[in-house]
Amino acid sequence: MAHDDSDHHHDNELDPMAARVRALETILTQKGLIDPAAIDVIVDTYETKVGPRNGARVVARAWVDADFADWLKRDATAAIASLSIAGRTGEHMQAVFNTPDIHNLVVCTLCSCYPWTVLGLPPVWYKAPPYRSRAVIDPRGVLEEFGLRLPQETRIRVWDSTSELRYLVVPMQPARTEGWDEERLAGLVTRDSMIGMGLALEPRAA
């Protein structure tokens, strides 16, 4: 069995999906098709190591270092790798930069493509039909539900992730943060702002 007995205490009433996944892991383990310890590694990686703090480091670096920002624009995969951030679903990165004129938004209408290396695993709303169906036809409406009302003259560019390219939105640096160091700036960079569903935090809110 894939789990030791201590796991079973809180599973007295397994919900159907929990039971189904447990059964599948059991079968595959009994057949020697998988190593359950490999699953533990995956879970630990995305639960504790890889997440939006990676992306925030990239964005903060781009804010303070114009050369890095330029590199990120030209070759995001290499620029990001220079910060020791790389791996699965980060193989082909594209960084897209918000400006006063244009706001970038990322969606995967066909499944749930998302840049794991810089943002971790996607939130449920990113993978669910409401966002995937509406982001390409009514992005302003969706943004307003997230509390972000863009000026009417701001252009919106939606990037539908239909290939293995993965998009990272670089939000604009908030005003009154000149001279801040990278770590402090990174604290302003939310996950949603790197999908385009928000802005970087204002200094007072950070």
Partner: protein, 219 residues
């Protein structure tokens, strides 16, 4: 295929519902579902594209009633049966009953850690130069294959502009069906919203897709 996955522009799913302080996982089974999907894929018997095709082949009622990890698990079961690793009877009983396909490899913890850190690039060297150039006006094709494609329905037969010439990339439409990688040049093609949504489209909106070379033709 014009399956339940092809959601761009569909309606009736309600509001986007972000969750405050959302955890990475909502239940322990989601952790195992993620891990199982990745380690089973690491046996090397199917491509990412084939996985996607199996997910979008779920009945639409099932697809729309399922969370994403549920979709993953339902598709994984079908993939495992399809490739002879498990039987429906084993899934029903929850235990191994017969021997099945021998796996090409069974990565252990350190092999998986290395593969997560390394990733697996989908770009491929191309012998021929790209057919289209930056700024060129192109029209996406109109087709409705029963198999896998990454050209969404909303973006078919539309006039757009090549916004970027990328690299050669594995072609999902063949890769999903055991027909090989057949890499093609990949382009980012951008459209005005009015070209796609017509009357009432947001005039400030542009939308881009990543399109393989065979998805587009000169305008």
């Amino acid at each position: 295929m014009n399956g339940p996955q092809d959601l761009g522009g569909q309606m009736g799913f309600g509001a986007v519902a972000p969750e405050k302080d959302e955890p990475v996982f909502h239940a322990d089974w989601e952790k195992r579902a993620l891990g199982l999907t990745l380690v089973a894929g690491a046996m090397g018997h199917w491509t990412l594209d084939e996985s996607r095709f199996f997910r979008e082949s779920l009945h639409p009622a099932d697809y729309y009633a399922s969370s994403y990890y549920e979709i993953w698990i339902k598709a994984l079961e079908k993939l495992l049966v399809r490739h002879g690793f498990v039987t429906g009877e084993e899934l029903a009983q929850g235990r191994a009953l017969v021997s099945g396909t021998a796996p090409k490899r069974v990565p252990n913890a350190s092999a998986i850690a290395a593969s997560l850190a390394r990733g697996s690039p989908y770009s491929r060297p191309m012998a021929a130069p790209p057919r289209f150039k930056l700024g060129e006006r192109v029209r996406t094709k109109n087709f409705n294959p029963a198999g896998h494609t990454r050209l969404p329905r909303y973006a078919r037969g539309r006039l757009g502009t090549v916004d970027a010439v990328r690299d050669g990339f594995v072609f999902p439409d063949t890769s999903a069906h055991g027909e090989g990688e057949q890499p093609q040049w990949l382009y980012t093609v951008v459209f005005n919203a009015a070209e796609i949504w017509g009357e009432g489209a947001d005039p400030t909106l542009t939308i881009s897709i990543d399109a393989w070379e065979s998805y587009i033709e000169p305008a």
